[in-house]
Point group: D3
Chain length 251, copies 6
């Protein structure tokens, strides 16, 4: 099986974290292709950055999806996920969605632990959009500004564990999601210190992507997730316009 | 990996259908133990039958879970699932929940195809209880009384495909779930005739159980899914009272 | 009028509390039959215990309902209520449901006072399942482990009154429900110390059962609360199989 | 026990229907005082008419409540109910609320049968306001304009029964409410022709009022249902200003 | 353009505040007619007072609407708004609704700052009734009893600003509404001290009324906001009965 | 006042329709700048096209917003609206949001009339995302494929009017929104043929933009709609990176 992973952020160091954790989570027989957004910001925290990241992600997916059995949008908040699901002939999953769906099978009230206060609104809106708002009991976030996105989980481990404890005790979380690609792998490292199941976006996404590829569900040819109808477009990469348009110049 | 599957219905013929489909879905290295409820009804359609099935399922799970990495409650409607999740030290999944969580990653509006009108209310309440009510767009059901639960998918294939088409066209389903253990395997057989992705409860549950076992999430030791506190009990099997009670006679 | 009350817990001492409060609440002309679950735990706090309690309750109801005009499932959380409502030809009410419906006619925001932290999730899910989640403003619970379930309302009276005050002041409850059969009667005793209306599960259930019996609403013969269709069953008591099945051996 | 019933419509003929049905429903020992709004319209169908009816009802309640143990706002849609509940020291119930709370204990999905298409929006908003929107499955209404509000249930009996059947078959109602004071008593007359339980606003309100009076719940002295704080007012009847104001002239 | 503004409270001093702020907000070409309720209370805080205020407002609107292009119900909580919208042939807006709809275009989570604790429940229910409950993140209120309703914004300015800061920091409000006619103009005065957009009920209502008048949307002649069907009425002012009834004496 | 309007589609002919209707709706003193997306598709119907349109819109807004008092995202579905609201120091509105907020002040149940079946899911999700899902009663759409997007309202006028009638009669819409820039102006032309108020996305957006500019609400400097924190970015236009990033090369 071959899975394409796209990091919607431009940070190569975060892509490396994602790749390492994805490799650990994947079946031995799963091959991974990992790509980084070519435009955008270092790490997405806001709706504006997510809109840019969505576009960058669609470009990377369009460019590289061929030959793969499934794809992953590898930033929590899933920028461009629904768009990609429409556009591509293979299953596409996202870190938020996959970890929510996995967490939902481990407990009732789901808590999310994240890297910044600013990121909270975007994550919350993403969960609500998936219809899972009633399952979300809390999003607890680091307060301090991050010195280095690549080392946030080492630098802030103690504080992150404390947020987990608060989510369990004060917000009654039955299960926790460690959110955000920069925290990839943390769940594995702290599992013994937390009293409820704790899952990670990257590993959940890899496993759910493998699952969907193995189920071999077909691509929708009708309904709202069928491929967008061909229409005039301009300014898009050849790969993207092959999936969602028909170049204006070809008229 | 070893997975325990319990059929909450007493029908051996349905257990065989479940086992065959589960075997097809499982990884080659996954071992399956399949058990049938020792008390209850031929197939659960109502809240009363589900309450009985839940008790029967908890008994079978308590009796046989040891040595397994995950367990499956193998009737759509998931009788006893939340109870089992509290009680057992291993992950437990159900056909409704697993297929909802898988389907949610394949499209927006989810439709369910089921075997009888009477079963509809129970299925609907189950979906709503999981907080996924806003994702459910329809439950379409066979109208006629079933001549034989074991052969319903052969006997009714044409009508079931018609229900799928109606769910897509009239109810705008983006993805379909073929509900109920007696329909195990149908999704695979009709995939080419339906224009949206179509998933099956048994195969989704097997894959999600494998997924959770591989994530190695720990059992909650606090929160509402920790094991029930030990307390006086009576009339329970030794296996069940070991998990949720302390025999009155042992006082 | 004759009302059957079943305590889904095995505690005789709690059954006595229920009976005493029920007798105080009932019309002089109402006769009460009070039964205790024959299997299960001392007091139900979790989903697993509730699943067992539901089965035990259905058995007692099936065994004893004949000759009664209405029945009561006498544990807060209402284990087996919807199942019993399907199964029996007479109205069946539960402590949570009846007190919610009564409280809803006394104020807007409803608060619940309960005996243990662990019980909270189960109660909350029960309220949400009835579609009354938007009316629930708080569930406040005792923290300490109980020395004796039969005397909890005496032992903890001061703390319970404090929880009521907090629910009113901090959670803006307009009306309170004292939850759980072990607290039967407390509402009556503390009414003068609490600044909002306060109701009790047992007395509400008795009055709502009398009300439904007097309304003489007929049993559904269609829809999802009609009696379950007769089908093959095994391992059930004669009384239970007469209501939801058709013994396998009689085939 | 003494119960005050106020008809928020000005129709004496409807008041007589209400009184007859209330008398049938009440305990032998319950005394009823029945009053008709002194201003307003023949029968309330719209938000504007309900606003006027609410004011008229508050006036009648304020004028006559003394010496009573509970009061009833006797139009479906409950004009002025929440206001009355704040204002009066005795329990107040309404036809919609009481019948919803009774119906909710007889089945899951609740259908309402009503006398005109125009009335539908107001009824629907009332149900949603009580937080019971998820329980409401349909409101089915007569289409034709009414020749005489006092005889609508005789004139339209056949069509009303047909609406009941449609609500059960097409909308999957588990229980029905016959809405509106002009239909008082119909539920009793058609009970044998309808396959699900069927309740009536007037009789439910009488029984729920008796129930609350017998529970002897105290009047809130804090929270949002305490009596309105005394303040300057003008233009109100002495009875009304005694309950919600302090006459400007008395400054 | 001519706009009619009705203060549902009897306080002339508040009417003056409303008029001053409305004048500041209106286009230079907009003429304003400002009326005060002839019956009711000094300022509405409760459901009972709002029911009286609704009736008083409908009377003033009926009496004075002719010759106007739009009308405003000028108390937060919008007493009588939906009724007026049905009844009048011109657009009618309210302070709560207009400020919610404006605020919703400035941010995601909306906070409300209000003058008393008692007023909170009524405001909250109003927001929920408009279907905007998911957008409301907080209602923060003054605690102390007001010495003078006309000078509350001067007397309590510091505390009101503090409530704004808390709504932003603790409740994560993206935008604030200063609620209640007695606070008209405060938003303008404190705009520099608050870190999120802050709007005012009166100015929003004036602008939304102008907007609707300029859109020249027609009055509904069908549906639930068409004028109430003519029917027998009594005890209403000639102006009101012309809009919602047909005098009984004219039969 | 100066308002910037960006058409997220690449169709110049649609931009012309938007500009003409915007000019009709605007105050005489309002100056309009109208821009067309430089990349994307002829008209957006899907999530994928909306994601591309969002990026194109942010680019145009960033490039041209200076010197304007408010901005409009001029495609129904509002691609990039929340992102733009974060990013820009001036108010930004969208066609869906503005028309919903205006329609909500004209009636209860809101219906939307749109140009294609495929567009329905995206519109529906947009409404739900604004928290207005409970107000939406229907989206009715043209079925046939469009021969020319610029003349759809002329070509399909009769069918569009028929959809309006069905939305009123069958779906009980109290107010209608004619959705989509290609239908700009249609509401004005058919107002006399439809029995409920009918509004248009473009004119509502222009009036709401003027309204917000006149209210002079400040830009959030805290909360989730403050400008995104400056951070490393790459591949963005100078205008866009000035608003949401700090070029990587400038490190």
């Amino acid at each position: 099986m071959r899975i394409l992973i796209v990091n919607p952020n431009i940070s190569i160091s975060v892509t490396e974290l994602i790749e390492a954790e994805a490799r650990r989570a994947a079946l031995a027989t799963t091959e991974l292709t990992v790509k980084t957004a070519e435009l955008g910001v270092a790490y997405i925290e806001t709706r504006a950055e997510a809109a840019v990241g969505a576009y960058a992600t669609l470009n990377q997916l369009a460019e590289h999806y061929e030959g793969h059995d499934a794809a992953i949008v590898a930033a929590f908040g899933d920028p461009g996920l629904a768009a990609a699901r429409e556009m591509l002939p293979i299953p596409v999953v996202g870190l938020t969605e996959s970890s929510l769906m996995s967490a939902a099978q481990l407990g009732g009230r789901i808590g999310i632990i994240a890297i910044s206060q600013r990121i909270k609104a975007w994550y919350e809106e993403t969960v609500v959009q998936y219809g899972m708002g009633s399952r979300l009991c809390t999003i607890r976030c680091l307060d301090e500004s991050l010195s280095d996105i690549a080392t946030v989980q080492q630098d802030q481990e103690e504080r992150l564990i404390q947020l987990c404890h608060q989510a369990v005790k004060e917000d009654r979380a039955d299960v926790l999601i460690i959110a955000g690609a920069p925290l990839a792998g943390l769940a594995r490292n702290v599992v013994d210190q937390i009293s409820v199941p704790i899952v990670d976006g990257v590993s959940c996404a890899v496993k759910q992507a493998e699952l969907l590829a193995m189920l071999a569900a077909r691509k929708a040819s009708s309904g709202s997730y069928a491929q967008p109808p061909s229409k005039l477009c301009q300014g898009l990469s050849p790969a993207l316009s092959a999936l969602i348009g028909r170049e204006l110049t070809s008229e």
